[in-house]
């Protein structure tokens, strides 16, 4: 139970999408500055990691922007800095150190040289999906620190939430209906063309 509570408190476990939409702040500044922005919480390696991971998880498609195009890494940095308490920030830091060490076994190497294939391999090998058993967790059910898989899944949900609640995605990609003026049940295709609402 302790472990479950700890995860719940961090607040961006799977399911967070549903309970509390999380989005990028206008206060963060201009768009498209993923190279030049200076993080508040993330280290330079963590910034590189989150930036690359975000676009691998949500790449640009013919009709939708990539995660970095809507400033997902900046959102995540500010969110960890301002929303998480110090305990959860420490848990997050420890998880970053662990996962970056897996990605880059030689600590003296430049993380910026890591290839997309290496990131995908990290996810293929270490990020477990629903129904798969997390050996690292089974080995220590009460451990307060996140397992590699738990952390990668949490980052995935943070990235998704930040993305879906950015102004660009919220107003132009998802179904945006600020003043519906009515409530009724209807056909999904007719109402939104099959998309979710952003609000």
């Amino acid at each position: 139970m302790k472990r479950r509570d700890a995860l719940k408190n961090i607040g961006f476990a799977a399911g967070f999408a549903i309970i509390t939409p999380s989005i990028f702040s206008m206060l963060q500044g201009c768009t498209g500055d993923s190279v030049t922005w200076i993080p508040n919480y993330l280290t330079s390696d963590e910034k590189i990691f989150v930036t690359n991971l975000a676009d691998i998880m949500i790449p640009k498609t013919a009709t939708t922007p990539s995660a970095t195009e809507v400033n997902v890494p900046q959102f995540i940095d500010k969110y960890i800095d301002e929303v998480l308490d110090t305990d959860d920030q420490e848990i997050t830091r420890a998880a970053f150190i662990k996962v970056i060490a897996i990605l880059r076994p030689d600590a003296t190497a430049d993380l910026g040289d890591t290839t997309t294939e290496q990131y995908k391999a990290l996810l293929d090998d270490h990020m477990l999906l629903k129904g798969e058993i997390d050996q690292e967790r089974t080995a220590d059910p009460e451990a307060l620190l996140m397992t590699t898989s738990e952390f990668l899944n949490q980052l995935k949900w943070m990235i998704i939430n930040a993305y879906k609640n950015s102004e660009e995605v919220g107003e132009n990609i998802l179904a945006y209906d600020p003043v519906p003026a009515a409530y009724y049940c209807g056909d999904l295709q007719e109402l939104t063309g099959g998309k979710s609402y952003s609000l």
Binding site: G11, A14, A17, I18, T20, P21, S22, I23, F24, S25, M26, L27, I56, M57, I58, P59, T61, T64, F75, K78, Y79, E82, V83, L84, D85, K120, L123, D124, M127, L129, K130, K156, I160, N161, K164, N165, S166, E167, G170, I173, P178, V179, P180, A181, A182, Y183, Y184, C185, G186, D187, L188, Q189, L191, T192, G194, K195, S196, Y197, S198, L199
Partner: protein, 572 residues
């Protein structure tokens, strides 16, 4: 407090109303409309309808961190944060700073407060149900606490009056224990809720029925007040509604009082004492500390209405000590501050409804379903393990992320999947009645003062055995109904009952009754031994029912104000 700074105002009023929330707004409106020159005192700042709703039109991306509560907010509002939703940046400005407004807990009590003009009428849940004689007769029938001194017939016309003025939408069902109301057209059930409704009727032979929630929203036409119009289904109610679609003091009753020319509204006015005159055996007025200048003022009136909230009104009375009332004004019975009740909830069941993937909804309905009480109403509804009953709220909605998202790790397929709605979930969330118990109480701590030099409040209350027995059934029946509907993944839950307060329905601290030896107020909400003081917020509740209580506070307030208007002369 520096007595040298006391200022006695020249102004003599006919009436003083303490508080501007659900009850205070109604007292102000009724007294002013009866021609009483009325001073309305509010401890917090001014909030003007629309002008002072700064977040009403903000989208999530317009708020820092997507509207998620920051550590900075939590550090100032740790107790207000206990709900999990009140400290959201979209609405936290309507909830108090716990550091500035501290209270103490022997047993944990989650006291959610809004110190500003309009009080919690701005952030309330808006569900509006009447009590029935099942509730008014309950204490007598069960031999619990004291009998209510009123019955449904006496209060019915006041419910009518309030509903017609504020606008309540919903569906009448013609049930004796769940009285019909003066309702505007109901909001719609969605397709899954309609299915659940039919399955409940088919599968249960007791009184249970599913209906749309009755909520204080205008669903057709307009209502009196400041341009009050129809609900736009944005579901941003707790931020203040620019359409005035749901009832608040700010959009409705206070403008009505203002329009008479009889109201003087004074924000930043902390009432801490009702002044009692032993020669006339009546109250003469109130003592006020200006929240900003910290000067003390005395205002006089023929009648005083305490509408400061159940806890705050009891606190003012406990502070109002005199030779006649050494334990607080009106406290001959020793019941003042006792019998705190709240509704216990956070128990029920959830499930997944399959077969509706091609359905979605237009709009964000600020309302859910309601399953009125179906326990202990006689016949096959009688329960051996607990007294009273509970109702369910909740409903069906689509998740905003599909199951497919959980099965993908990265790439264009994930980018596409995250844009699609997820499965339909159904939630039945029970709200149960709490029995009054003398041991559940609040009192003053004279050794811990706030920044105005006033004693702080200490809570010592908890839910009891009857509530915990009831919770088992609340969970079990929720599961049974969802199973009967054929839904998948039915899961019961019980995440509550640990502490009172989260229902934000605290009540009962100055209960009404027939006997002055066992109650604080009479049937007209007057203090038994000081009849020009009325208490019409949740403090008067003799039992809690399981219904959301604000509508009842409004009806009793309107009735009490008209009683006062008949019994006290204006233009003194």
């Amino acid at each position: 407090m520096d007595k040298n700074k006391v200022k006695t105002e020249d102004n003599q009023f006919d009436a003083i109303v303490v508080g501007t929330g659900i009850s205070g707004g109604w007292a102000a409106k009724e007294l002013c409309e009866q021609g009483f020159k009325t001073l309305v005192l509010e401890r917090g700042r001014m909030v003007k309808h629309i002008d002072d709703y700064p977040t009403a039109n903000l989208d999530p991306w317009d708020l820092p961190n997507g509207g998620k509560t920051t550590q900075e907010i939590i550090n100032r509002k740790p107790k207000q944060h206990r709900t999990g939703y009140t400290t959201n940046p979209a609405r936290e400005h309507f909830f108090v700073d716990d550091v500035k407004h501290p209270y103490n807990e022997v047993r944990r009590f989650d006291w959610m407060r809004g110190y500003h003009v309009g009080g919690r009428s701005l952030m309330w849940g808006r569900q509006s149900y009447r009590l029935s004689d099942v509730d008014f007769e309950a204490n007598k029938k069960d031999g619990v606490a004291v009998d209510w001194p009123v019955r449904y017939k006496e209060i019915e016309p006041w419910y009518d009056k309030v509903e017609e003025y504020i606008g309540v939408s919903g569906q009448n069902l013609g049930l004796k224990h769940f009285p019909d109301q003066k309702l505007l057209k109901p909001m719609e059930l969605n397709c899954v809720e309609e299915h659940l409704q039919s399955k409940i009727s088919e599968n249960f032979d007791d009184e249970r029925v599913l209906t749309i929630g009755r909520t204080a929203h205008i669903t057709e036409g307009t209502k009196e007040g400041l341009g009050r119009s129809t609900c736009q289904y944005r579901s941003r109610c707790m931020r203040g509604c620019p359409y005035g679609a749901y009832f608040s003091s700010n959009s409705s009753t206070l403008p009505a009082a203002e329009a008479t020319g009889n109201m003087t509204l004074r924000p930043n006015s902390i009432v801490h004492e009702v002044i009692y005159d032993d020669t006339t055996k009546q109250a003469t007025g109130v003592r006020v500390i200006d929240a900003e200048t910290k000067e003390t003022h005395i205002y006089n009136a023929k009648v005083v209405f305490l509408c400061a909230s159940s806890i705050a009104s009891a606190s003012i009375l406990l502070q109002s000590k005199s030779e006649r009332f050494p334990n607080g004004l009106g406290n001959d019975s020793g019941e003042l501050g006792h019998n705190i009740m709240d509704h216990h909830f956070h128990v029920g069941a959830t499930a997944t409804a399959e077969g509706y993937d091609d359905k979605y909804v237009k709009g964000r309905r600020p309302n859910g379903i309601y399953i009125p009480r179906f326990r202990n109403l006689g016949g096959n509804t009688t329960m051996k393990s607990f007294k009273r009953g509970y109702g369910y709220q909740g409903g069906a909605s689509r998740e905003d992320a599909s199951e497919l998202v959980a099965e993908l790790k990265y790439g264009p397929k994930l980018a596409e999947a995250i844009l699609k709605p997820g499965e339909w979930n159904v939630n039945l969330l029970a709200f149960g009645e709490t029995l009054p118990d003398h041991n559940n109480k609040m009192y003053l701590d004279e050794s811990k003062k706030d920044e105005w030099g006033l004693p702080t409040i200490t809570f010592d209350a908890a839910f009891g055995e009857n509530e915990f027995e009831m919770r088992k059934d609340m969970q079990e029946q929720a599961k049974k109904m969802l199973e009967a509907a054929g839904y998948k993944n039915v899961q019961g839950y019980d995440n509550g009952g640990k502490a009172m307060g989260l229902g934000i329905h605290e009540m009962g601290t100055a209960r009404m009754g027939k006997d002055p030896k066992t109650s604080v107020l009479n049937k007209h909400n007057q203090i038994h031994a000081c009849k020009n003081v009325y208490v019409t917020d949740g403090a008067f509740m003799t039992s809690s029912g399981c219904q959301n209580p604000s509508l009842t506070y409004m009806a009793f307030t309107a009735r009490a104000a008209n009683h006062a208007a008949k019994n006290f002369k204006k233009n003194a």
